[in-house]
């Protein structure tokens, strides 16, 4: 496996001395979709801006398909498309002009068929001669996407592409991301919607206070999420798990008066009935039973809270 985007110990200290990124190292494989999660001010946009050449790099190295983004900026940047977080468009231009301009700026020769395909895919074709000022917010965001796709990037950064976008458009966007992935485009997106990461990402990265806390396969995370916990509260206080219950892989709760059992909701048999029978057979008295499901959100909240402590 070869990484199309390789980030090594990337750091950013802004002019005021604020350290927004504290050494991020990350490899992204060709054709994968990485979702970056993190609270406001975590450094997501800073990371993207540095890779795209908008913000200067304080320290570290980034290569795109083997091209260093500073030494070989032309080769590196021509592979990258960026949809920024903030909507930024020249107000009095038409949609078509704006999108054509982007293609030219990236050194690609004129290709009306490609531009038409992109605009149609984003449902903007009938707005092609409309001035930007006459578009709705969601349409403007789609124009930004069209601009980024106009020059056929191999790596696409989407900085909160679905912020302020209606449900239907969000679904469309997810579909578009899937199509791009099918074409072999690598996508890095940031989002505050965890279900979005669940829906489209291959891997999930969590960033907080300028540090990458975790990067993991979404399926691995999902497997953790697929796990449920049941806490059996007892009238008795135990020092250890009774030998008769050793087959269940139990954990003793804090205080010793509960047993924690983890099971897979996707498994054919949860083993709950067996456990409860075994508990009463062991002569223990049930006081209460509670279940818990860990979600990506829990994992995220735990991680971010852990970073604060």
């Amino acid at each position: 496996m070869s990484a199309i985007l390789s980030i090594r110990d990337l750091r950013k200290t802004y002019d005021g001395g604020f350290e927004a990124l504290k050494g991020v190292t990350l490899d992204i494989e060709k054709g994968e979709i990485l979702a970056l999660l993190g609270p406001n001010g975590a450094g997501k946009t800073t990371l993207i801006s540095m890779v795209c050449g908008i913000t200067t790099i304080s320290d570290g190295q980034v290569t795109v398909d083997g091209h260093d983004i500073q030494a070989e900026f032309r080769a590196a940047r021509s592979l990258i498309g960026l949809v920024p977080q903030e909507i930024a468009l020249q107000p009095f231009e038409t949609v078509l002009n704006t999108v054509r301009f982007s293609r030219g700026l990236f050194g690609k020769s004129r290709d009306d068929a490609h531009i038409e395909r992109v605009l149609r895919k984003l449902s903007l074709w009938d707005k092609k001669d409309t001035q930007i000022t006459a578009l709705s917010g969601g349409m403007k965001r789609r124009v930004l996407i069209a601009k980024a796709l106009s020059h056929e990037p191999r790596v696409l950064f989407l900085d909160e592409p679905t912020a302020g976008v209606d449900v239907e458009l969000r679904r469309d966007m997810w579909g578009m991301v899937a199509d791009l992935k099918a074409d072999g485009v690598t996508i890095i997106l940031t989002t505050h919607y965890i279900e979005e990461a669940e829906a489209i990402a291959d891997r999930v990265g969590v960033i907080n206070k300028g540090e990458l806390l975790l990067v993991q396969d979404k399926d691995t995370l999902m497997a953790q999420m697929g796990k449920k916990q049941i806490e059996v509260q007892l009238a008795e206080t135990l020092n250890a798990i009774p030998p008769v219950l050793s087959d269940f892989g139990l954990r003793l709760g804090a205080g010793g008066n509960s047993l924690i059992y983890t099971y897979d909701t996707k498994g054919e048999r949860t083993g709950i009935t067996g456990l409860l029978n075994a508990v009463s057979n062991a002569g223990l008295t049930l006081r209460d039973v509670q279940t818990r499901q860990s979600s990506l959100e829990d994992i995220f909240v735990d991680l971010v809270a852990g970073g604060t402590a």
């Binding site: 802004y14 002019d15 795209c52 050449g53 908008i54 913000t55 200067t56 900026f73 032309r74 080769a75 590196a76 940047r77 021509s78 990258i80 960026l82 920024p84 903030e86 909507i87 930024a88 468009l89 020249q90 107000p91 009095f92 231009e93 002009n97 054509r100 301009f101 982007s102 293609r103 030219g104 700026l105 990236f106 050194g107 690609k108 020769s109 601009k147």
Partner: protein, 253 residues
């Protein structure tokens, strides 16, 4: 060299100009006509000739310079300030282009617009006076270099400006006085000796003098100095812009 990108920027900028072509055309025609009416008719009736040239003809080079310089600065400064203001500069910064290509696109378009205005003024002037050009090649070179160098200056102003007021500030406080005091409407020899010396510190004097020489063969300062001044000014602007992009001053955080 990413010429496709240069062309894309140039075309994009020129399209804005062509959308407002009538406006772009009318205002120089109108203002030139007004200058002829006010300066040519009112003052010209008292000053018939300056060094053997009719006053109406004498002011033409200054008039052209005045408009060309103002237009080159305002077009170029606005051209690059606007993307900063709207945030679309992100695209320029993330594109596979270097500073030279960005400058070529924006400054090239601004200089073209200024050149267009200059030509319109010259043509308008021929309706009022009989205009002769003694050194056509020198005239074109001066005109082109002026368009180019002041578009470069405008580009720097556009990068420097943090708001629309600052965008107007330099042209208003520095450039316009320098042009008016640079001998646009009079010959330096008409000034008292002290002011003749002071005036020599005004760079615009060299431009207007050289440009006027290309029309009438008469100059306030030697033509070589004029050429040197404009070439030096162009080089200075390019050096400043090179530094801006190297350091990312006011564009990259």
């Amino acid at each position: 060299m990413n010429l496709t990108a240069v062309w894309a920027i140039y075309k994009f900028e020129m399209q804005r100009f062509f959308r407002t072509l009538l406006q772009s055309f009318l205002s120089p025609v109108l203002s030139t006509s007004l200058y002829f009416v006010v300066f040519g008719a009112a003052i010209g009736s008292r000053i018939q000739e300056v060094e053997g040239v009719s006053y109406g003809a004498f002011i033409v080079p200054g008039l052209v310079m005045l408009s060309v310089i103002t237009q080159a600065i305002s077009n170029a400064s606005f051209g690059i300030y606007f993307p900063k203001f709207t945030g679309t500069i992100y695209e320029l910064l993330s594109a596979p282009v270097n500073f030279l290509e960005i400058v070529m696109g924006y400054v090239g378009a601004a200089a073209t617009k200024a050149l267009f205005i200059g030509i319109v003024i010259l043509l308008t002037a021929t309706f009022f006076i009989d205009l002769q050009v003694a050194h056509p090649v020198a005239m074109v070179v001066f005109l082109l270099l002026t368009c180019l160098s002041f578009a470069l200056l405008g580009f720097i102003i556009g990068i420097w400006a943090g708001n629309f007021e600052q965008l107007q500030l330099v042209p208003l406080l520095i450039v316009t006085p320098l042009i008016f005091l640079g001998g646009s409407f009079y010959s330096i020899s008409m000034l008292p000796p002290v002011w003749q010396t002071v005036t020599l510190f005004n760079p615009v004097v060299y431009l207007i003098s050289g440009f006027r020489w290309s029309f009438f063969g008469l100059a306030d300062v030697p033509i070589g100095w004029s050429l040197l001044a404009i070439a030096g000014f162009t080089a200075l602007c390019i050096a400043v812009i090179w530094w801006i992009f190297k350091t990312g001053w006011r564009i990259r955080s």
